[in-house]
Structures are given as C-alpha cells and as structure tokens.
Symmetry: C2
C-alpha cells in the first residue's frame, strides 16, 4: 500500500527536508523542523502523489488515502489530547496547500477547521474567551464558504457591515460575543441560501471538503498563470498540510509573525521581520494592519514597538531558533511563527525569496562566513538576478533637487531595490495598456494575484498598504522590479483616479518616481542613473571596495570566471557598448552588426543613394562615400575591444529596410537624390517582398552586389591596419550572414579575400583575420561539414534559425505563441529560451559535422539566446567555444556558464 | 605523357563509342564507325581533357598537345597522300567541336581549312573545277574570319552583294571563277581591315587558330545558355575533330545529306532524310535551299526527286550502312553523309534526337523487334517526354470548320507533334513579352540559337524555311513543342510585321494555329483538344488498340509499373482531376487541398463570414453553412478514387488569403456581411502578416480555431460513411499541415478523434481512416521520431521544406535564384528539382527517425517535386512509399520511378 500521509511532531517526523517533491516545500520543512527539535504544532501531510492521482483519475482519491488520514487524525487527537467536535477541548486544524516550490497566495488555506455548534463552546471554555470563540467560528464559516464552496465573500461582509450599523459601531472588534453568535447564525443562513445545504457540522466532512478544495485550488486560474510565468510544471500537484491550530489571537500574550534570517531586499545580515500581537497569521500578510518590527534595531526606523522589547523572552527563543535553522539549512530562512499565550511555535520555514541584490550579498557573505563554498554560492544565484545589481538608481542631483523642491510625497517600505520613474496607472489593465507606449508605475492600495500582468508590465510598483512580506513586495522582488509598499500616507481613490499625499494630488498619467532601495516616493519625474556597479566599473566613479554591491558583483563574477568553460562575448556595434560590455566581463564581440551604422543620420543618404543606384558604377560611387564612415566606426570598436576578437557581420537586412515607405518621405528623398518621385517609388516597390525574412538579404545581397561587401571588408581591414599602426592589437573576424550553401561562402570568400589582399598591398602591411559564417539557415546546419571546409568559424544565429527551423516569423508568431503557451503546446517561448529539441538539435548537428571536417573550427552563438541562462547551459553542453549577448546580459551569461560547468561536474 | 590526340580511319581507330567523355560524342562515334568498317574520311580527335586543361590553366595548352597534333597531321597526310598547302594535291580539313552530348549549332565549325593562295590552285587542279576551288576559298575566308576572328559576316556578304550587282546577276552560282578570285582578294582585304593582320597563309597557323576558336566556343553565350537549359555541366569541355574534307559540291555526282534511321517526329520505322546535290553539309541544315527527300516513299509527299531515284547505287550502300549502324548502336541513328563523285562517306552518326512521341514509339517497336529489352526501353525514355503523348490536338470539328472556311494558310513539315493556337509574334523578344499574357506562336523565316528564349516562351513554332533537321525542328522537338517548319508559301515581312499566304495577310498579335503532327497552318484560333491518350483513356472515346500513340503509352506505363517500387499518387482536389489522374495511372490521392474548395464562388461568402466572426459561436454558424458543401466535395472525390487512398489536407493558408485586399472590395463584402466597412477593414488589416509563409497558417489555425478543423474532419468522415452506404470503399487519410511539434499533432489528434467518434456515434457506423501529418517544417523533420509516435503517415511538403530549409521565399527568391544559377552557386532551381544535399537530407533524417519509432509509418511526398524525374529518383533512393504529383505528371513519375528502380538494380 502506498504511503500517502506523513505525520510530524516535535522531535519525530516521518518526513524530512529532502522530501520536498513528495511532501511539498512546507510539509518537508515542517517535518525537518520537528526532527531538529524546533517547536512545531503537530499534524500530518498528504503527499503530492495523492493530488497527482486525483488529477489523473478524474477527481478520485487513491485507495488507502481515507484510511491513512483517519489513522493520522486519531494519532493527532491522542497527542494533543483534543478531539474533533469536542464540547470541552475541541481539536482545531489548519488545512494548507504546499507545492514543491512556494507559490505564495496562489492556492487555498482554511483555518480553524473543526469548529461547529458544539466545538465553539469547547473553544470558548478552553480559551476562556467566548467572544474569541464565536469570532473564530464566524471567520471559519466565511473562509470555508468562500474557499470550499465558492461563495462570494461580499455576502458575508455585507452581513458584518449590517450588524455593525445595527449596533452603531465602527470596528469588528467592537462587536461582542452575543453579536457574533447572531452573526454566526446569519452566516449559516447565507451558506444554506448559496449552497442549498446546511453548513456541515461534522468536522470530518469539513476536513474532506477542505482537502478536496486544496487539491482543486492547484488548478485555479491564478495558480495556472503563476506557474506559467515561473515555469512550474502543471503535473507536480500540491501536498496538503493538516496541522493542529495554535492561536496568536488569544490576547495580549499571543502574537503571530513572519521573519527573515537576513534582509531579503538588501541581503544584509540582520534578523528581520514583522509581527502583530493578538492576531492570526493571515493578518500579517494581508496588509490590513501595519505590522510591528521584530528587532529593536528595526524599530528605530518606524518608532513602533518591537517584539524584542514587548516579549524579550520569546524573542530570545526566536533568535535561537532562527540561528539553528539558518545553520541547519545553510541558507537564509523565511519563517512563520505564532506565540500562543507566551509559547513560541514555528509554523513554517523555507529558503527565503530575495532580490538579486540580496541573493548575491547573502551568497558572498555566507562564503565569507564559511557556511557555504564558492561553488554553492554560484549555484544559488539566479543568473537573471545579477542584472538587478545593474538596475538604475536615481540621479543624485536630480533627486536632491526634487527633495529640495518638496516633491517628496511619502516614505514607504523599501520592498524591491532600484529606482523607477513613470506614469501612474491605478489598475493592472491600465498599466498593461499604458506600458505599450510609456514607462508606468503601478499604484495600488494593495496588490493581489489578479494584478500580476500589470506588475509585469510596470517599471515599478507602489502600494499604500502591506509590509515587506505582502503580496506586492514578494512578487516585485521575484520580478526584480523596484517596489515601495506600505506607504500609508497615500490616499488612493480608484474612482477619481487620483492619489493624494501631503496635500498634493496626482492623476492617472502623471509622473511619479519611487526608490525601492530607500522607500521614497517622489512627485514627478526623477532622472534615473546607472547602479553603483555601472558607475564604478564602467564610469570609473568610485572604488570597488567602497561599495558592497560592487565588490560583491566583482567577487561573484570572478568566482564564476573560475568555474566556467564557455567564453562570453557581447553583441555591440558602438565603442560605447563595447566598453560597457568589456567592463562587465565580456571577452570580445561576437556580433557587431553593421546595418545600425547604415541607419545613422549622417550616412543614411549615401546608403539610399547606393540602393537606388542603377549601375554598379553608381553604386560604387555611393559606397565610396560610406567607406570612410564605416572605417572610423570600426577603428573605434577595435580600440574599445583592443586585444580581443571582434566579429563583424557584413550587411544583413534587405535593402528596402533602408528606404522610406510613405509617399511623403519618398518624395522628399527623391528630391534629395535628384531622381523623379515615380522612379524612386517604383524602385521602392520593386524591392517589396512577400516574405522578407526569406528574401533578398544576407549573403544574397553580397552575392548580387559584391561591391557592398567589398567596401565593408575594406573598411574593416583598413581600420585594423590603422589601429595596428597606433600600436594597438585589433583581432577582426569577418562574418558572412545567411549562408545556406558552401558555394555561397566560396564565392564570397574568393572575392573578399582578393579585396583584402588588395588592401594589404596598398598599405604595404598585413594583419591576421578570420573569415567565417553565421549558421542560421537550417540547410547550413545540415550541411555544416561542407561549409566548415572553408569557414574558420561558425556563429549560430539562433533567432533566424528559430524562425526558419520552426517556421515562426518573429513578427507574426506572437499571436499564436501566446495560444500555444496557454494550451501547453509550447513549454516556453522559443525566441526567449532556445528550443533544445528542435533548434538545439540543428545546432548540435552543425557542431558535430563542422568539427568533423574542420577540427579547429571556432563555434559561438550570437542570437538573443546567448544571454538566457537555460540556453547558455545548452551552449555549454553542446560544446560551443563562446556565447555572445547584449552588454547588460554579459554577467548573466557568465554566471549561467559557471553553473552549467558546475552542474556537469557534479 | 597523356594522350591528347586519337587517330581514326576506316577499319582502324584509336578510340571507340565508349569514349564519349574523352572524345566527345562525334569523335567517339567517328572512331566507332571506322572500327565497324563504315567509310569515314580519316582524321583525328583532340580530347575534351585538352579543353578542360585549357580552361583550368588560363588558356594554355597541355604539354605534348602540339607534338601529338603534328604527328597525327603527318599520319593524315601520309594516309590521304595529300599535303597541307600543297599546290598539286592539298590536304583540306574540317575542324569541328564535339561535346559529350550533342549541342546542335551551339559551338563552332570551320570547313575547308588548309586553303591558301597556293593550295587553292591545287584544289582547282584536283577537282578540275577552278570556280569550285575559289568559291571554297572565299567561303573559307569568310568562315574563318567570322568564327575565328569574330569579323561580322555582313562585311563579307556586303561585298558579295556588291559583286553580284556589278555583274548584274542574281545568284551566287552565277558568279564565275574570275569573279570569285576578285572576291577572294576583297575578302582578304576585309580580313586585314578588321583584324589588322594578313589572312594567315600557313595552314598550320590556320589549324591552331581554329582549334583555339573551337575551345573558346565552348564558353560562348549561346552555348552557356543551352547548357543551363539542358543541365550540362560547364566543366566537361569539348573535343575537337580534325577530319580530311570530302566534298559534296564537286558536281552533279556529288551530294550531301542527313538521315534518320526512323522518323524522329513520330517514331515510325522508316528510313528518312534529306539531301542536296552539289552542296556542302551546312547547306542542308542551314535551311537556305529546301532539301530533297531521300526515299521514294518520302518523295510522294513533296514531289521532289529522291536520292533513291537519283543515285540508286549509292542509296543501296546508304541503306546497308544505316541498317548496320542501327543494329550496332541498337538505337535510332541520326547520320550525316557526303557523296563525293559517287563515293559515299559517313561524317557523323549519333543517337537521333526525337520527340516524346517518337522516343516511346521507337522504344516500344525495338522491344517488339527484339532489338532491346523492356528495361532498356524504359531507361531510354526521358520521363518528361511522356507528357508529349498527352499534348493537345485540334478539336476535330473546329478544325474541319476552319478548313471548310478556307482558313488553311499552307502546309509545312510536321517537325514537332501537337497542336497549338496563339497570337503571332515575329521575334523572340516579342514572344517572351507577349507570352506573359497570351498564348503565342513564334513565327520566323528561320530560327537561330538567338531565338531560344522566344521558342521556350511560345506555345508553338512556325518557320518558312528549313527542313526536318533545321534548327527550329531540332530545338522544338527537344522542348516538346508543336512545330511546323519549311512552310515555304509564307511570306514573312519582319519590318511590316506581317505574314502573307494564299492572299491573306496576318499581323503580329493575330491568331494563328499550327498542327505539328500534320504540318497544317491555319488562320485564326482553332480549339485544341486532348491527345488520343487523353481521349481514349480519360474520355473513353475510342479503343486503345486503334491508336498507336495510346497503345504505346499503355505499354510503356505497364512496363514501368512492373519495374517501379514507388507508388504514384496524384495531387487533386476535384472529382474531374481525380478521374484524369486515375486514368493516367495514379493509385490514389496524395494531396487533396481543401482551400481551393473554399474559394469557389458559391461558398467564399460563408468562408468570409467565418473569418470575420468575432466569437466561436459566430464562427461555428458560418462553418455550419460550409459543412454540407465540403461533404459533397469529398463524396465526389472519394467516388472518383473509390478503393484507393485519398489524403485530405486540412485548411492550410493564412485566413487573410480569403479576404479582399482593395477598399472597393472590402466595402462590397462589408455590405454583404452586414458589418461596417471600418470594422471589416480593421479585421483585414489585423490579419496582415510580415512573413505570411512563417505565420498564422496550417495547424496553427487548427489549434487557434479548432472548430474549423472539426468541421472539416466531420465533412470527410460523413462523406466517407455516405459513400460506404452506397456500397463504395472510401479510404480517407486525414493530413494535418505545418506540424513542427509533436504536441501540436497530439492536441489536434485528440480533438479531431473525439469529433470523428461523435460522427461514428451519430451515424451508427464506423470506417477506417488514417491520421498523419505533412513534414514541411525543418523542426518536424529533425524531431520526426517524436512525431511518428502518434502519426500514421508522413507526407513531405517539399515546397515549404525548401522554403524554410533554405530560407528561400518562393515568391521572392526568383530574383536571386537567377543570379545564383548564373554564378553557378546553385546547380538548379531547388523549387524545380529537390535540393538533395540540404532538403533531401532533412527528408532522409525524417524517414529514418520516423521509421525508428513507428516501423509502420507510411511515407510519401506531395510537393511539386513529386513529378520531377530527378526528385522521384531521390524519393526512391530514400525509401518513400509513394510520390504524389499533378495529374498530367503522373506518367512522368511512373516512368521516373521505374528508371530509379532499374538504376538501383544495375
């Protein structure tokens, strides 16, 4: 018989921390805490296997589940000495979901389960607080009705408001036990009206309905969306934790709270958290009451009383527990605890979510503390998170000026670091819409899972309520967005679409700025600035050792460099981008696009002259004007990348991209060029293509108009020779795009080599260079053995290889890719993360075939995938020499490359 | 030392017929004829290797060539007893090109080489005819000047005309020896004026210049064009044949002629040819004098005197020779002979070019005669030529009416079978231009290699001059075009652009009709009709055994069926096309496109309603209107293909293809559909795609709008069940296009299977069907193992596979493919003949992977390549189960499949 239920109690649990797949993160850690002697209310976990079985079998429970739950329930009754439905000492439990990885707020939870018309009396007796007992009961009916039976909460809230009006009171707490008893009766009526059934008095019936509801909540809409965004498989299922209740709301000696063993926003090593006296756990997270800080040090900021001061004894216990837990788990922990009449219980521990800032600082600190190794530190970092260290901060002067001008609206909690400035949107929908054109700050009283899309679209998030662990804070940190929460001074009016603070009112669409590192909220736009890392490493403003952020960045990158095998280059086509990338760790350029140079204002005219030329001679004349400009471009880039290889791709896009489309613009250009409108219009039209992606571009242009490519290689080689003369060491690599046939490369190689030899002769000096090709046409991958015979390097253009290999036009596929993701036909967008099975296989074939005929072949990738961690891992596995990505993705690629190498090693 | 020169003389030659690659076709056959005792003027052949060396080494001759030529020249002088430049008995030679395969008229020939101021006197003495000697000399100067020194012939012709005027005569033959002596002097002056050099008097200098000119002529423009059209590699080079001259123009006992051992137009077994008394060989081919027939039987038609009657003794020898040759070569021969003073010499024999008609008749007859085997017969047929048996003939009634109305303009020679009707074009350029819009008949006095493009563009060719072996006749037969030559009654005025015959005048652009099977030329348009094969096999009009053409067709196809392993299906989407294809030998439908059905006038409105629908419900409503129409389409097709498999492809093209593009049409449609113009316009624009080939089409439509595919499978299955009820045996195969991911097929297969089961339930009956997929996205080929797990068949859509695999948009690539062919980057257009190395490899990978996970997988091809012989051979090699092609290509595919199987066997 399969074991579906695992019991846990202090000092003895059937599970442990390693069983996350089976028990879920929460269940496994509850068991683990029990095993290491942490005080945890006893209970049991129903495995994810039971949930998976439930979904695979159309909602049936596996054989044996019922019996095992009964058995463990008896054991729980025995251990606690309480009984389900007992009028003297009733057993109450919480029923919570718990997936392998945390999905905060996405699935359902039911508290106080076991209450009924008799048990409520028992609870009153045991707690000595009738009001508390009936308040718990009416909350339970609402929660159960809403979560399990899908009754809209507003029915209950309406009754509550009515009761308060009848009694002429303002707060829930002003209602007395008798009022609450009446409310319980009304709630039960609502329940019957809405479901057609009596509210179930049998606690076991309640339990099974609750278990079922948790199973079902795995597939609610917001959980599905969350899984898609976070790449969590749908077939994992959730575990269900049934745990005896402890109460943080039994009076002033009771409390509930959450804590982090280190600061989840900055990574600073300080115990850190929030709590509420006389409250249930959900009250802290929900953001309705602003919670108090846990430590005295924290309290300095807010002036609120800390747990350290209020309950020094319990605080001491809590410190012991957190230290034990962090040492045990060797990672920063996110704790939930409850204090019931002065006694501490831990309800949950898990590795705490953190910002990119924090993840790096914590990893580096833990290496310094000897808690983890450098390898572990690297493996713990989400490579994408490294970019948070590069996130902008406010321009110092501009911010100071804003503060001097009195534009500070308020100060909230610094929930997600980084500075952001943008137009106010008061709803997720509006944020999504406005983000198409403008930078947006999503401003909400508090956020809920329904706001996910809007948070994703916004530059930053600002809420009036909630603490550091509120929905907004947790999600924003996950997304790496600047975020300020709990800015209580803000009065937000959704109807009027206004925000008021300190006497100023802002409307939707007005500019606002938030500093997620300090919590400041500023009226109007404030210029943003590069991060400390950027300032120190790129602009040379300041010293590395003076900046914790920057020195941590440098440490992480240097450790990653130690472990990684892949080279990391950058895609850059200006000296500035080249410098930035080099400062961030790039060891050369993998893709220097030359067409961007063609678009610059001072040369587009010559380019257009070249395109509308009717003869080779005319074209050569126009090209002669472009030559000196291209040459000086290359001189600058070679200088910025001195001593490192620079791969220059010859002209790639179809010529019509350089011509105007509208009649007005064509007329103007015709005048400029001294040709008739009709003639130019006709030329523009003759260049129109049905499928430009598969049209006259890349090496096809070079073959039909060899003079263009000849001009380009001349510019490259002349630039290299000029730099060499200056004592520099340029390493040019000439890359020919869109090769599909060896014969194409052969034809161009002959012509271009001849031109290069001509330049050598003219200048009386030579230079080493490579000539190779993009592999982006499926045929090129398939016939790579032939092409490699005459190519010195391959660079995989995985954007085009994806377009052609999958038959997905990047411009058009968005519409059906969305549907494919929804219908689970695609696991992810193949333009974001490489399609390993398809496109990846083409890359693999090309690598193998290419190296067979040319063992010295250099292999790299220069598609957008080169900076995406999963794709980088693939590139490592397939044995490429390097990846190339945009400058700000360079550190991501470096860390991802190190992780890939370490994964392989282990 | 490499042997570059091979000697030949009657009874003893150094080469033989098998050495075509080295000696060229002409040289090898001259050697072979010598070896079997045929009278051939002695000479020697310079190998193609020497020519290849010449091109590879920038125009240098290989070492030893000079010496070997000298040596063989001596041997020739010794054997003939004549000497170069001898004033008593001079050796004269012809210098001719001769490639591996015949390239008629494409390269250069020089006759009478060796004549100079002294040798001409020797020739006068030996021939006893001073006039003949000087006439030969002046011809030689012109030919040498033109061919070797590129002097425009008009300079010489101008002098000739001037001389005739001075003498007041009309014909060349009216000039006497003295006139010609003067002309020789003038010609030598022209030579000097144009070249700056004296006309070379040294015969050896003449010889080397001539050899060089022949080498050079391999790369003249028309030869290059011919090679490209006929797929002859550029690196083969030509041999050079130096042969002692014999003269057909020494008087009335001399003659020259060409003959076919069977009729090259119809294939009939009759000796057949043309000759001219007192003429040189070029006169017969040039079409300036109308030649006489060879046999008495032939003479009946024209009333001209035959060789059989004029020179019965020589004719008897010729008959013996031709029979010997045909028996020896086991194929129809094309002979060139010269009679010098009553003595017969063979100058050339080669396998005769023939029409598709003739090739089949000859092959079938030779099998019946026991001369060749059925296998050989099949291997000898150009599969493409089989389509000539399907070429149209005139509608009998319409033609009779035309004749009764007196519209017969003239009767010429039936040089290329088939009937054609079209607008007159008097130049090749005009024909190319007019052919863009209309059917065109190219009408020329005579054609030359410059007219190739025009001939290619025209429906048929009509010339006023020339015989059955004239340029027009030979080329037209090669192209399979209807052709009438030697219609001497026609007066063609290029300047006035008119044609006059029997008192009627037609202008350029007027309709004319030609019957290449009878030689008739008719004024105005005459309806064309299917061929006998079509009439008998498809329309059931007549009996097979009454028609030679049809019974030969049936034999060839049935033999091919015996040998071939590949199945042959057709691409058809109407009952009519299905019937045609089935009659021609198709064993099922490999591709039934459903979108053509969508375009039909009675249903396009419902289709458009479906497209602009805003909800699934609206879409389903529109689809409900289309369902009965689709069902009845399928019923008809299943009936026509009863008992044979029918592969139906679900909707493939992007939806915007069904919507109007112009505002006018959109307005009209909006009115029809009862929606606003703006709304419809917006919908049309929202469907616009940047790269529709890589856009929202194929299975992507099926996945986003499952209701469309559900309607289609319902129509298919309901139709099949309806036909089954009628006692028929429908075999539907449902094909899903554009699959790239197994998950796509899985998703659709689930939905569609469910719908089919629903139909089965509704109808209370089931039917067998297959469900499979197109393989046309490169990713599908690469991941075929995964897809094959749930597909029952693959059909390779090699059109799209070529587009995506090569990154060539078929709509846009034409421009650069042309350049690629010119620059030899591509050996052929990959859309015409499959790119074996690239696309072929994807097909191969898919076959291997697919069969690995699904050994029962059926494999076919349904791209245009399925009817192209080289591609069919590839399909055989790669192990497909069948090819599918358009109905009229079915016999081509059958023969090509048989050839592929036979090639493999041998």
């Amino acid at each position: 018989m399969t074991k579906y239920v695992y019991y846990f109690t202090k000092g003895a649990a059937e599970g442990n921390a390693k069983m996350k797949d089976l028990l879920g993160g929460k269940g496994a850690n509850l068991a683990e805490m029990c095993n290491i002697g942490i005080p945890v209310p006893p209970g049991f976990t129903i495995t994810t296997e039971a949930c998976v079985y439930y979904y695979k079998n159309g909602g049936k429970y596996p054989e044996g589940l019922k019996e095992q739950v009964e058995e463990n329930l008896k054991r729980l009754e025995k251990e606690t000495g309480k009984k389900f439905g007992d009028p003297e000492n009733p057993l109450l439990v919480s029923v919570r979901s718990g997936a392998r990885v945390s999905m905060p707020g996405m699935m359902d939870t039911i508290l106080n389960l076991g209450l009924n018309d008799t048990a409520v009396k028992g609870l009153a007796k045991v707690s000595g607080n009738e009001r508390f007992a009936y308040d718990s009961y009416r909350r339970f009916i609402q929660m159960f009705g809403n979560v399990v039976m899908k009754i809209d909460s507003s029915y209950f809230e309406h009754e509550l408001e009515k009761m308060k009006k009848e009694k002429g009171v303002k707060n829930d707490t002003d209602l007395d036990a008798e009022d609450l008893k009446k409310l319980v009766e009304r709630y039960k009526e609502i329940y019957k009206e809405q479901t057609g059934k009596e509210f179930p008095q049998d606690p076991k019936e309640q339990l099974w309905l609750a278990i079922n509801a948790v199973f079902e909540s795995w597939n609610n809409e917001r959980a599905k969306v969350y899984r898609r965004i976070n790449g969590i498989p749908d077939d994992w299922g959730t575990a269900v934790n049934v745990q005896s209740m402890v109460f943080g709301n039994l009076g002033e000696d009771s409390a509930t709270g959450v804590a982090f063993t280190r600061d989840p926003a900055t990574g600073e090593k300080r115990f850190f958290g929030e709590y509420l006296i006389n409250a249930q756990g959900e009250d802290v997270v929900a953001g309705i009451r602003t919670p108090h800080p846990i430590t005295k040090e924290q309290a300095k900021e807010s002036g609120l009383k800390s747990l350290e001061e209020e309950m020094p004894e319990v605080f001491k216990q809590l410190v012991e527990v957190y230290q034990k837990l962090e040492k045990h788990y060797r990672d920063m922990q996110d704790l939930e605890f409850t204090i019931e009449r002065g006694k501490l219980y831990l309800l949950q521990t898990r590795n705490g979510k953190r910002t990119g800032f924090a993840s790096i600082r914590i990893a580096v600190d833990m290496v310094d503390e000897g808690l983890i190794t450098k390898e572990e530190a690297i493996m713990r970092i989400d490579p994408d998170a490294v970019t948070q260290l590069l996130a902008p901060v406010f321009d110092k002067e501009d911010k100071e000026k804003a503060l001097k001008d009195g534009r500070l609206l308020t100060k909230g909690l610094n929930a997600g670091p980084g500075a952001a400035s943008g137009k106010i949107a008061f709803s997720a929908e509006k944020a999504v819409e406005m983000a198409k054109k403008d930078k947006v700050i999503l401003v909400r009283i508090e956020t809920s899972p329904e706001d996910l899309a809007g948070m994703d679209a916004a530059e930053g998030i600002l809420t009036a309520r909630g603490g550091m662990t509120s929905h907004a804070a947790v999600v924003a940190r996950g997304m790496g967005k600047p975020c300020v929460v709990g800015a209580g001074e803000l009065e937000i009016d959704y109807n009027a679409k206004t925000l008021t603070a300190r006497g100023r009112t802002l409307k939707e669409g007005d500019y606002i700025s938030i500093d997620g590192t300090t919590g400041e909220v500023i009226e109007g736009e404030v210029k943003t600035m590069p991060s400390e890392v950027i300032n120190i490493l790129i602009h040379g403003k300041g010293k590395i050792e003076d900046s914790v952020v920057c020195s941590n960045y440098v440490k992480i990158i240097s450790w990653a460099e130690e472990f990684k095998k892949l080279g990391v280059r950058t895609n850059a086509d200006t000296p500035h981008d080249s410098k930035v990338a080099r400062s961030l760790g790039a060891k050369g350029i993998g893709l220097c696009r030359t067409e961007h140079m063609f678009f610059e204002e001072d040369r587009i005219k010559a380019v257009r002259e070249m395109i509308v030329a009717k003869t080779t001679e005319e074209r050569e004349k126009a090209l002669a004007k472009i030559l000196p400009m291209q040459r000086s471009d290359f001189e600058g880039i070679f200088e910025a990348m001195d001593g490192l290889p620079v791969t220059v791709r010859l002209l790639d896009p179809p010529l019509h991209e350089f011509l105007p489309k509208e009649d007005e613009d064509i007329k103007e250009l015709a005048k400029d060029l001294g040709v008739s409108f009709e003639e130019l219009k006709q030329r523009v039209e003759s260049l129109h293509e049905m499928n430009p992606m598969l049209g006259h571009r890349g090496c096809r242009l070079g073959i039909t108009y060899p003079e263009i490519y000849k001009m380009q290689v001349r510019a490259i080689i002349e630039a290299a020779l000029n730099n060499k003369k200056k004592g520099l060491n340029p390493l040019p690599e000439i890359m020919i795009p869109l090769i599909g046939f060896k014969a194409e490369l052969e034809y161009l190689k002959n012509i271009l080599t001849e031109e290069i030899e001509k330049v050598f002769e003219e200048k009386g000096e030579k230079i080493d260079y490579l000539m190779g090709t993009m592999i982006e046409v499926p045929r090129a991958a398939i016939t790579a053995d032939q092409i490699a015979e005459i190519a010195q390097f391959f660079s995989f253009g995985t954007n085009d290889l994806t377009q052609m290999g999958l038959g997905f036009s990047r411009d058009d596929a968005g519409e059906f890719i969305k549907i494919y993701l929804d219908k689970k036909i695609l696991p992810h967008d193949p333009f974001q993360s490489i399609d390993v099975d398809g496109v990846g296989q083409l890359v693999k074939i090309a690598c193998e075939k290419g190296r067979k005929t040319n063992p010295n072949l250099k292999l790299g990738i220069c598609g957008e995938h080169g900076g995406e961690p999963k794709s980088v891992e693939f590139c490592h596995r397939v044995g490429l020499n390097y990846v190339s990505c945009s400058p700000y993705r360079v550190p991501v690629a470096i860390v991802a490359a190190a992780q890939a190498a370490l994964k392989e090693k282990n």
